[in-house]
């Protein structure tokens, strides 16, 4: 029975960790919240650390609704089965009413459909970008329990269409990378262009690592478009642009942020990029965003450079404040219903730090609403729980990449609502 001895040893090891456990709770009561994040992936750890940082800030200011917060963190291993099981365990065994996560849309989605919505638990994702969540919300299947602080690909697509309109292009061909990001943004930009009355002559998928894209480029040339839109990565983008220009295509180009690279400029050649305009989502130009960068740098000995950190920070902050507003013993639906009180544009402005957190609690206790000025700006959710983001356009120059124009959150929001 050596096998059993092995398992016994493994259990013993796990039990060993138990004796190392420390009780952080100093206050009378503790409220548990759950987090399901891919901590076994290198870029997932800082996202979880950021969420824990916010929980620490909340506890320093005296907790939430009079109780200390304990964040129970579970790893998803980027495996939907493992993530769903972890979420279910948090909801059933730990009784959490608020779940942060997950990162991958392919993990967040089954958690939403099979755990949080049936159990009535609020789910706040920092980083899932798929448009499928928007569609699910529009069908009314999320019960208003799902929020995310990561802007969908819709922002960049809309700004791309905005550029085409400003340049006065009448017809555009779209090239997109053949993955979830590219499929998403390629489809959205085509819709937006058509909404603006610009003809989309072709939408062409570009598969990675092909030796030549002559067939795809020829296909696009048939429609004789005035400009092209590219949601491509530098390697394929370089190839496509080279063949496009050598076959006599137009030099009017618009591209998503993935082509923002010196490598692309050098390999294509500056002489062909005179009419090239890129788009990107931007960090907001607000004091609150700078304050977050400073606080983060002080805490973690380095700036927040990984993906999703500012989003994770805001997700946790907003969720915890909503939990405070909902009061002790609130259900998931109660908490979700209070999110609007935290992100009310007419509310009292509060900053995204311990001081702001404490101030927000005071205002909420008095029955007021707050406008949370977060690491990603003054976050506002639409009716589907989605957020928008400010954007920039940029161009290539001899010396590198230069920002052309900053489009504030309000301008982006106004433009996007004018499209619908």
């Amino acid at each position: 029975m050596n096998g059993l001895r092995t398992s016994a040893l493994a259990l013993g090891l796990a039990a060993g960790f138990a004796s190392l456990g420390t009780d952080a709770a100093a206050q009378d009561c503790t409220t548990k919240i759950g987090a399901v994040l891919p901590t076994s992936v290198d870029w997932g750890k800082p996202i979880a650390a950021t969420a824990q940082y916010v929980v620490d800030i909340a506890n320093e200011t005296g907790g939430v609704a009079g109780c200390q917060i304990e964040m129970v963190l579970r790893d998803t291993q980027v495996d939907p089965k493992v993530g769903v099981d972890a979420a279910k365990a948090l909801v059933d065994l730990d009784g959490v009413k608020l779940l942060l996560g997950a990162v991958s849309s392919g993990v967040s989605m089954p958690i939403l459909t099979s755990v949080t919505v049936p159990a009535g638990v609020m789910q706040m994702s920092c980083c899932s970008s798929s448009t499928a969540f928007t569609k699910l919300a529009e069908e009314g299947k999320t019960n208003g329990l799902f929020y995310r602080t990561f802007a969908t690909s819709g922002v960049q697509a809309a700004v791309g269409a905005m550029v085409a309109q400003e340049q006065g292009y009448k017809s555009v061909a779209v090239f997109y990378k053949n993955d979830d990001w590219g499929q998403d943004i390629g489809g959205l930009v085509a819709e937006d262009l058509e909404a603006l009355g610009i003809e989309v002559t072709a939408s062409i998928a570009i598969n990675d690592a092909q030796a030549s894209y002559r067939a795809e480029v020829t296909e696009a040339l048939k429609g004789n478009p005035e400009a092209i839109y590219m949601a491509l990565y530098p390697k394929e983008g370089t190839q496509v642009v080279r063949e496009w220009i050598s076959l006599g295509g137009s030099q009017n180009m618009i591209a998503a942020n993935a082509l923002k690279s010196d490598e692309f400029r050098d390999n294509v050649g500056m002489q062909f990029l005179g009419n090239f305009i890129g788009t990107d989502t931007a960090s907001p130009r607000t004091e609150s965003a700078d304050a977050f960068v400073e606080a983060y740098t002080a805490r973690f000995d380095g700036p927040p450079n990984g993906p999703g950190l500012a989003n994770s920070y805001d997700a946790t902050m907003i969720a915890l404040l909503a939990m405070h507003a909902a009061g002790e013993g609130a259900t998931g639906a109660d908490i979700a219903a209070k999110v609007g009180m935290i992100t009310d544009p007419d509310g009292t402005l509060v900053t995204a730090d311990a001081e702001g957190f404490a101030r927000a609690k005071e205002v909420l206790d008095e029955g007021g609403t707050v406008s949370y000025q977060g690491a990603t700006g003054n976050v506002q959710f639409d009716k589907n729980g989605d957020v928008s983001a400010p954007a920039v356009t940029w161009v290539f120059s001899e010396s590198g990449i230069e920002e052309q124009k900053y489009i504030s959150l309000n301008e982006v929001n106004d433009f996007m609502s004018s499209l619908n």
């Binding site: 398992s7 039990a15 901590t39 963190l73 579970r74 291993q77 089965k81």
Partner: protein, 315 residues
């Protein structure tokens, strides 16, 4: 208390679904000696097939036929069977590791086709499946309990079917082919046909597991059919004991319990600083169990019971 029961039901449902897939692999590997390295392709074919047949219509996607649940589930099994038949015709002349590599390639190709085909959900996957009987049972615990009973019935049915199959003359033929194909051929049997039959039957069972999995989550995406699932299902069979159906089921429950319980124990008991590394620690612990198993008990917890044929026993 109700929380614990609710979680256990949930856990047992997932473990039972995985058990069905492991039983399918046990027919292929444990009894026939077919090294299927592409379990996820057939699991996925069943999952996608079921959701396409039984789901609600989505813009720009194939499917949404809204067939009754049992018919959709059966359709998913048929689709898995068809995929297995085509793959089997092409690859079953390969032996051992060559077969493993070829089927692994099929599984990777399957995932990529799903990821790239917008009309099959693309990278975003297929959603919009309405759970059957949801109005009657509600969304909560009673629904999960009913679904668990349904899965359990299917698991028992699969188990009994396979137990009877391997005790039948056909089962002996499978083992004969596994042990010595040439000898079986010399007795007038057709190994290639039997191998194909076993491969398709095992894959249909995996397809059933896939269909149950997708309908339980009401969602399937390419992320569900990554090679890690093939690895997990193999680990379950190896630990439980290849060639023994009871071992296959026990191995599944054990490995899935270790996989989930280690995550739970670490999140609960590990100190705060270690919390961020629980994922990595968990991988080490699980790897430790599997390696230990292979070192000290390679035949698995429940080794195959070698049966001497009945005529020899009576002497």
């Amino acid at each position: 208390m109700i929380g614990i029961i609710s979680y256990l039901v949930f856990f047992a449902t997932v473990a039972s679904i995985l058990s069905i897939a492991v039983l399918g692999l046990n027919l292929q590997w444990g009894n026939t000696g077919l090294f299927n390295g592409g379990v996820v392709a057939f699991f996925g074919a069943g999952a996608y097939g079921t959701l396409i047949l039984g789901g609600t219509p989505q813009a720009g996607q194939l499917g949404g036929f809204e067939l009754p649940y049992l018919i959709a589930l059966f359709g998913g099994m048929v689709i898995a069977g068809i995929v297995a038949w085509v793959v089997g015709l092409l690859t079953l002349r390969l032996r051992h590791d060559y077969l493993a590599i070829a089927t692994f390639g099929v599984a990777v190709a399957f995932e990529n086709v799903m990821r790239n085909s917008d009309w099959l959900g693309g990278a975003q996957g297929i959603r919009g499946f309405e759970r059957p009987l949801r109005e009657a049972l509600g969304n909560g615990f009673s629904y999960n309990l009913a679904f668990f009973v349904f899965v359990l019935v299917l698991l028992i049915a699969t188990y009994v079917f396979l137990e009877r199959l391997i005790q039948s003359p056909f089962g002996r033929l499978l083992r004969a082919i596994r042990e010595d194909e040439t000898a079986a051929q010399s007795l007038g049997k057709s190994p290639s046909r039997i191998r194909l039959t076993s491969f398709v039957a095992g894959s249909v069972i995996m397809g059933l597991a896939g269909g149950l999995y997708a309908t339980f989550y009401a969602f399937i995406s390419p992320q569900d059919v990554l090679p890690i699932l093939t690895f997990q299902i193999w680990a379950m069979l190896i630990v439980g004991g290849a060639g023994n159906n009871k071992g296959a089921v026990m191995g599944t429950f054990l490995i899935w319990a270790a996989w989930t319980a280690s995550g739970w124990a670490l999140s609960r008991f590990a100190p705060l600083e270690v919390q961020l590394y629980t994922g990595s620690i968990q991988f080490v612990l699980i790897g430790f169990v599997i390696v230990g198993m292979l070192l000290w008990r390679p035949q698995g917890l429940f080794p195959e019971r070698l049966v001497v044929s009945q005529s020899a026993k009576t002497k």
